[in-house]
């Protein structure tokens, strides 16, 4: 038996775990957690073994699943650098998150159910990664949708969680509509769904005029799953799920699936389709970064940040640099999982407080959380020599080569990223702990603050302290990965797959300086953007400790309240414009996209339904009359031709 066969185990162990937990061990917490964690850790180890003994070469395992006439579909595993790396990310980061969940969910009554859902989710995600054909991918694609629905809505007693879950599911389905249609078109025109067959068969030429359309329809799936503009609305709301779920969904897996899929089927995209893809990615990146600046909920900041980074990756793919997109996906998986788990650590320490303006001074109370969080922030901001720098640089370099407009946009987003992340760090971790009267929070939070006063009282009497080992060890491991992720040859690995002809740096030193030699403009712009963002954040928020008022109140009142340390000129110009843009972006997001478009569709169908049901009067002779009318119309239709 060849070592590749172990991949079957990697795929099916989580399903097995989910099955056993659901059927037998719902009442035994320890066994459930052990099964679930065991499945994914074993998966990680087995993946390592497959790579160690089998190498990164492309190969395929499959069994015949369906063969009916012209529809011949395998159930297969496609192993190559792309899928193996992704497999490592999903099982590796997933393992860290699973272990962390053991601590985080300890007191939850649905503990076993949680782990069953996590395992099911892992299984679905691994299925996407390993799929060797479109149909199989689509099936797991939907399974990811279902299991994320279960996870986001895990606390279904909370109406907001249930709504968020439903929204995530339905929004994803919208994108999937395009996806399945694209698959059907490809199948009809090319007669196969297998990736290897399609790739070698020069599918763009074979699709002819349908090529761009087919590619864009497939891209619709990625828009939904990777939460790209205009279907991004589900992702911030998905924060209603438990924090480990946010980490799992936003860091390593679900949202990455869209980008992964784009890279997997990169060969079907025409240049026109790629242009559209790159712009969608760019717009998402900018919009989300602008919105992130205005958020006060720690998880929402990270959520919008994820959106923005996903936009980056999609932009990278669109700029014909899928290897850069995948590289960024990999490093992002490390540091975003780290940031989410760090946020979770803060949230449990503060008894489910998520408003950064009610935090502060956590650096001394939670040193490990702080320092690991700091590493994640620096990596996300793209500081040399942390991992984020290299991957972001790869995308910026591609943009610099192909599309100057998108390059400028990318640099701007990089500056904004640094700005909002350091705003978060300055407010939540540095400075003094904020006590006393609760600051005015934005309306959305106020609305759901039913029993807030009681929890508030408990919170104030409670001194935050560092989280237990099961929580902070995953943080430490992920921090290490975030630091070194850029220089361990990941880029060369993906580069070797997508662009085998191009030169790639080998050796630590060469990798460290490669960006400056290869594309100095991009590298230096990235660093400059970091400097600008850091400076702005420091100017505005570094001394914000004595001011309990969130800047959300608007430019004017903040100018008065914060006059001691806010640079007033800066305030009057840059920030105000900036705030206005951010507010407009937020407004567009909330009302135009979410309220109007989706509302219109929903309202429209609802209204039509109400109107149409009037036909069903209950009177038999009305029915009979309509029946005869139907006959008459059909006859007229056919005879009249």
């Amino acid at each position: 038996m060849k070592v590749e066969a172990l991949t079957w185990l990697v795929l099916f162990l989580p399903l097995l775990a989910a099955g056993i937990i659901t059927l037998f061990t719902l009442r035994n917490k320890a066994v459930s957690a052990t099964l679930s964690i065991g499945a994914i850790v074993t998966g990680f180890v087995l993946t390592l073994a497959v790579i160690k003994f089998g190498g990164w070469d492309a190969r395929e395992l499959s069994v015949n699943w369906l063969s009916i006439g012209s529809l011949n579909v395998d159930f297969g595993l496609k192993l190559d650098a792309l899928s193996l790396m992704m497999l490592l990310i999903v099982t590796g980061v997933g393992s860290a998150i699973h272990i962390y969940s053991y601590g985080y969910m300890r007191d939850d009554p649905g503990f076993s159910r949680f782990f069953a859902c996590m395992s099911l989710f892992t299984f679905s995600m691994l299925g996407i990664v390993l799929a060797n054909n479109f149909l199989q991918m689509f099936i797991f694609w939907e399974l990811v949708g279902v299991s994320s629905y279960l996870l986001i809505g895990f606390w279904f007693e909370k109406p907001s969680a249930a709504d968020a879950a439903k929204k995530a599911f339905i929004t994803n389905r919208l994108g999937d509509l395009g996806f399945i249609l694209g698959i059907l078109i490809i199948f009809t025109a090319l007669g196969s769904l297998n990736f290897t067959v399609l790739e070698s068969g020069n599918s763009i030429a074979a699709l002819g005029g349908m090529a761009t359309l087919g590619g864009l329809l497939v891209f619709c799936g990625a828009i939904g799953k990777s939460a790209q503009f205009p279907l991004h609305v589900w992702l911030p709301d998905a924060m209603e799920g438990p924090t480990p779920v946010s980490a799992l969904i936003h860091a390593a897996t679900m949202v990455a699936a869209g980008v992964y899929m784009l890279c997997r089927v990169f060969f079907i995209f025409t240049p026109d389709a790629l242009t559209v893809i790159s712009w969608i990615g760019g717009i998402t990146a900018l919009l989300a970064a602008l919105i992130a600046v205005q958020q006060n909920d720690i998880k929402r900041i990270l959520a919008y940040s994820t959106l923005s980074q996903l936009g980056y990756m999609v932009m990278g793919v669109g700029l014909t640099a899928p290897e850069a997109g995948m590289f960024h996906l990999t490093t992002h998986a490390f540091f975003k999982a780290l940031l989410f788990l760090g946020a979770g650590s803060v949230i449990i320490a503060l008894h489910h407080e998520q408003d950064i303006w009610k935090m502060g001074g956590l650096r001394k109370k939670m040193p490990v959380t702080f320092w690991t969080f700091m590493v994640g922030t620096l990596a996300l901001a793209g500081v040399w020599p942390l991992s984020g720098f290299f991957s972001k640089d790869a995308i910026l370099a591609a943009a610099h080569e192909n599309n100057l407009l998108l390059f400028i946009l990318g640099v701007a987003v990089a500056a904004l990223t640094t700005f909002y992340m350091f705003r978060l760090v300055f407010v939540a971790f540095l400075g003094d702990r904020r006590t006393g009267v609760a600051p005015v929070s934005d309306s959305k939070e106020a609305a759901q603050a039913g029993d807030e006063s009681m929890r508030q009282a408990r919170r104030l009497s409670y001194e935050p302290h560092e989280s237990p080992g099961v929580v902070i060890w995953p943080l430490r491991i992920l921090a290490v990965a975030s630091v070194v992720g850029g220089v361990i040859g990941i880029e060369a690995l993906f580069g070797g797959m997508f662009k085998p002809d191009a030169a790639h740096p080998h050796g630590l030193l060469a990798q460290l300086v490669y960006p400056f030699q290869h594309a100095p403009v991009a590298a230096l712009s990235g660093l400059a953007a970091f400097a600008v963002g850091l400076f702005a954040a420091w100017k505005l928020y570094a001394n914000a400790k004595t001011d309990p008022l969130p800047d959300k109140l608007g430019a004017l009142s903040r100018a008065m309240a914060n006059r001691f340390y806010f640079d007033e000129i800066y305030e009057a110009t840059v920030i105000r414009i900036h705030d206005a843009i951010a507010a407009i972006a937020d407004w567009i997001d909330r009302w135009i996209i979410e309220g109007f478009c989706i509302g219109l569709v929903r309202g429209g169908t609802d209204l039509t339904g109400r109107a149409l049901r009037l036909v069903q009067t209950g009177n038999l002779q009305t029915y009979a009359f309509l029946f005869v009318l139907g006959v008459a119309v059909v006859l007229w239709f056919v005879l009249g031709k």
Binding site: S67, I68, G145, I180, T188, R613, V634
Partner: protein, 505 residues
């Protein structure tokens, strides 16, 4: 014409077995189990009915036959055998989900009528002669009318049955009129002969009238817009197991015969095979004749069914409207007229029927305790009956077409077959686009049901639902079937494919 009656009886053995079982259930209930408690009577006679179905299935599995008796009156081939087995399976599950019911004391009659309806469907599947089609259609319909009226205490049941009956009677009259014209034009009653006689006649107006009238008769049976109006009222008012049978078995049989009439009667002789005749001018004419009609009906069904389902508050009514929408999806398969399309259609219809029986089974469980089928009665069901809720989730997700459940694969297969036929100009593409878009809409109301079950709070004072073990096992079996057929569609599709090849379609 020499007929060996023994041969005929052997060919029709499955039907004979089911008829005898129906009589046995009737006699046993009227004589020996008469004085027992209703629940035991249901179990004993239900077991007899199940045994009959199983015996017929086993007979067909053990004695595969391939014959055409009495010039198409009764055709037995591998394909009809598969469909009959599926029908008997659906009948079996209908009987099983009825076992817990309390709406009638006339248990023997009730079961006998279910079995007689099943016999009607089986003959329908085997018929390639318009006389047989008409008679077996009527046998099925008449049994179903009575089944719909079976809850004598419930005014809605009577109303549902009356509407179903009068609407159905009218549809039957139209169909018969259409058949008479068809007979007049061709001078034959056998589908193959009709096709041969019509081939050189072209498309005259009288033929169009005949075709339209026949199509609408089937449109009534499958509840396609605008011939659907009976369905919501009948589903809601009829006793739940009856509604389940109307929605599943009757639909499978009707769709099968619909496709058969379209493919044999209106395209060419049985011996020719569809693909050979596909090039001829006459075929083109026929296709251009009825395809637009079916297309319009399909579009209307998908739109109306899905949109009206959104605003329903009765779950049975919601399923009824969704059934109308599903009829629309299946009509796309009818239009594709290829061997693959028939396989996809049968797969879709069978899995749909199975899922619907399951969904109605859950409704029956809830209805038995809360006395109505309103969405609100499902609130918090997941905490009152976890197993049943899980089954309902699987059924709803399958109906919505979520992979890897059977509903997804059915849709995929039908749409792929339709696109395949339309290639390279992708003629049916716009229909498929609409179907996919509407199935996204459908997702919304299926999720509405699940939201009630899993999210909404339990009504105050609600306690755990005691679901009989048998009921749980049956629902669980159906759910497993839905998952299994979705994960390994080859189980059914492979058989269908082989039998279609063997049947020469």
């Amino acid at each position: 014409m020499n007929v060996s009656y023994l041969e005929l009886l052997k060919l029709a053995a499955p039907e004979t077995i089911v008829v005898l079982t129906a009589l046995a259930a009737l006699v046993v209930d009227l004589t020996s189990t008469r004085d027992l408690e209703a629940r035991f009577r249901f179990i004993i006679n239900g077991m007899i009915a199940c045994a009959g179905c199983v015996a017929a299935i086993v007979w067909m599995l053990v004695m595969p036959a391939h014959a055409n008796a009495l010039e198409g009156m009764f055709v037995v081939d591998p394909l009809t055998q598969v469909v009959k087995i599926a029908l008997l399976g659906l009948t079996l599950f209908t009987v099983l989900i009825s076992m817990d019911s309390t709406f009638t004391e006339h248990i023997g009659e009730y079961l006998a009528l279910i079995l007689l309806a099943a016999v009607g469907m089986m003959f329908l599947v085997s018929a390639e002669d318009i006389l047989m089609i008409f008679i077996s259609l009527e046998l099925t319909s008449l049994s179903l009318y009575i089944l719909a009226a079976f809850n004598k205490r419930d005014v809605n049941s009577a109303e549902a049955a009356l509407k179903y009956f009068l609407f159905g009677g009218m549809a039957a009259a139209f169909t018969l009129f259409g058949l008479s014209l068809l007979y007049g034009l061709s001078g034959a009653t056998n589908l193959g002969q009709i096709a041969a006689a019509l081939e050189d006649k072209g498309l005259d107006p009288l033929l169009i009238v005949a075709m339209v009238m026949i199509v609408l008769g089937f449109g009534f049976k499958v509840a396609a817009v605008p011939f659907h109006l009976w369905a919501p009222d009948a589903y809601q008012g009829a006793p739940t197991p009856s509604a389940a049978f109307i929605a599943s078995g009757s639909k499978v049989a009707s769709f099968f015969i619909f496709a058969k009439v379209m493919m044999i009667g209106f395209t060419g002789g049985e011996t020719n095979g569809v693909h050979e005749i596909a090039g001829s001018a006459a075929w083109q004419q026929f296709v251009s004749g009825w395809t637009p009609v079916v297309a319009v009906v399909a579009v209307l069904s998908m739109l109306l069914g899905n949109l009206v389902a959104i605003v329903q508050s009765s779950v049975k009514r919601l399923i009824a409207y969704s059934a109308i929408a599903h009829a629309g999806y299946m009509l796309i398969g009818v239009m594709a007229h290829s061997g693959e399309a028939v396989a996809s259609l049968v797969y879709y219809a069978v899995t749909y029927g199975l899922t619907t029986i399951g969904a109605f089974g859950v409704v029956a469980v809830v209805e038995a305790r809360s006395k109505d089928d309103q969405l609100a009665s499902f609130a918090g069901l997941s905490r009152r009956a976890p197993v049943v809720s899980l089954c309902m989730m699987i059924f709803m997700l399958s109906l919505a077409g979520i992979p890897p459940l059977a509903g997804f694969f059915g849709k995929f297969y039908v749409f792929a077959a339709a696109l395949k036929t339309g290639a390279p100009n992708l003629g049916l593409l716009w229909l498929v686009i609409l179907a996919i878009a509407m199935s996204a809409v459908s997702f919304y109301y299926y999720l509405q049901v699940l939201k009630q079950i899993y999210v909404a709070d339990m009504p105050a004072g609600a306690e755990e639902l005691r679901v009989p073990v048998l009921g749980q096992v049956v629902l669980g079996l159906i759910a497993v079937g839905v998952i299994l057929l979705g994960c390994a569609p080859n189980l059914l599709v492979g058989v269908l494919q082989a039998s279609i090849k063997a049947a020469g379609l």
